[in-house]
Amino acid sequence: MGLELFLDLLSQPSRAVYIFAKKNGIPLELRTVDLIKGQHKSKEFLQINSLGKLPTLKDGDFILTESSAILIYLSCKYQTPDHWYPSDLQARARVHEYLGWHADCIRGTFGVPLWVQVLGPLIGVQVPEEKVERNRTAIDQALQWLEDKFLGDRPFLAGQQVTLADLMALEELMQPVALGYELFEGRPRLAAWRGQVEAFLGAELCQEAHSIILSILEQVAKKTLPTPSPEAYLAMLLRIARIP
């Protein structure tokens, strides 16, 4: 058994790892774990990852969680082109600097619109308007920092070439984009960055990776979304309660 990747393309960090593996020709057995159905909280999956989170990598007996850890592991194991995770001391530090900030200011924040518009309503929970507004402000603030501090006048977030930072960021930004947020309106530098990253990855790969999230509202309208399992229900409630 080769490398197995447990993922759901609905999830931002799952997409980042998926895209990275595909772009670099890393052989992976993909194991879809349906988040909405709650398969990540099933007994079977919890045997593999007791935290019940995606993505999860299985390399023989070695099980690894956390998308940034997985990306770094894959980049080193498969010796992907240096630009992804540069060996240069300062260039690499910039990637970690971005990933640290991303964990605080992007992760969690950019996922909220999906909870508000799709996952909450699916279990009959409405997120108060006050929280939605607060989230919008947080998104705007984060985008400002993304543009000013990380992009600046550079083509990519951590330097002159595409790195893991750009991949992690792009996939988080796709979440609200899929929910109708015009993140790139009035942000030409950010829009240009997005175009560059997607051009580098390739239109076909992007389409493939983004098709699920980009069709989410259509699925809502057609009522084709699955029903969350009882195990997932509680986890979803807890997650929604944490929205500031």
Binding site: S68, A69, E97, W101, A103
Partner: protein, 240 residues
């Protein structure tokens, strides 16, 4: 000008960086950025870090923020002992995994525990509802259980037989609720013995020195109205 570290030992990530640099005899100029006085919000500090956060590192023209990035930079630059961030692919991945996980879990819980239990009521004079405090402490409890069950398990240290960056980052986080008077290690013998091992590996004097500020935080005089007004937006944003 050699290495400069902009720090306030009130902050968990600053403590990790401070201990790491001292433990490894890395020469640096300490630039104190007094969070309680709001110095991190000043225009002067914004020149160093426009994100107005500590810790920050300045190595000549190179300025770096984010504690994990700083710790990794120092590890690589000074070619420090392997156990801190192992060369072995899987051992290192374990450290990366912990460092990624802790951002939204332990770090968040410990920060909120400090502020909800102590800093808001005592320093800022802002009452915290019993429900909010209870929820925060419950979340801390869950996170501590995960730390024990998922990461520590029956190992000597979080990611293996030797101390790594993961342990340093974790222990400095846990001292936050300790500073607020939370019983983090009582009733958790595994975690308590892990703490002793980490303290011994770091050096008890250094550990004590680094934690003097947080352990005395309960004795901070209440903030005057000007300071309180200055700090409130920052605090509220930080503990969201």
């Amino acid at each position: 000008m050699g290495l400069e570290l902009y720090l306030d030992l009130l902050s968990q990530p600053c403590r990790a960086v401070y201990i790491f640099a001292k433990k490894n005899d890395i020469a640096f100029e300490l630039r104190m950025v007094d969070l309680i006085k709001g110095q991190h919000l000043s225009d002067a500090f914004a020149q160093v870090n426009p994100l107005k956060k500590v810790p920050a590192l300045k190595d000549g023209d190179f300025t770096l923020t984010e504690s994990v990035a700083i710790l990794l930079y120092l590890t690589r630059k000074y070619k420090l002992p392997d156990h801190w961030y192992p060369q072995d692919l899987q051992a290192r991945a374990r450290v990366d995994e912990y460092l990624a996980w802790q951002h939204t879990t332990l770090r968040r819980s410990c920060l909120r525990a400090l502020w909800h239990k102590m800093m808001f009521p005592v320093f800022l004079g802002e009452p915290v509802s019993p429900q909010t405090l209870a929820a925060t402490l419950a979340e801390l409890d869950v996170t501590l259980q995960l730390l024990e069950d998922k990461f520590l398990q029956n190992k000597a240290f979080l990611t293996g037989p030797h101390i790594s960056l993961a342990d340093l980052v974790a222990i400095t986080e846990l001292m936050h609720p300790v500073g607020a008077g939370c019983q983090v290690f009582e009733g958790r013998p595994k975690l308590a013995t892990w703490r002793q091992r980490v303290e011994a590996a770091v050096g008890e004097d250094l550990f004590r020195e680094a934690h003097e500020v947080i352990l005395k935080a309960k004795d901070l005089p209440p903030a005057d109205p000007t300071i309180k007004q200055k700090l409130m937006p920052w605090v509220l944003a930080m503990i969201r």
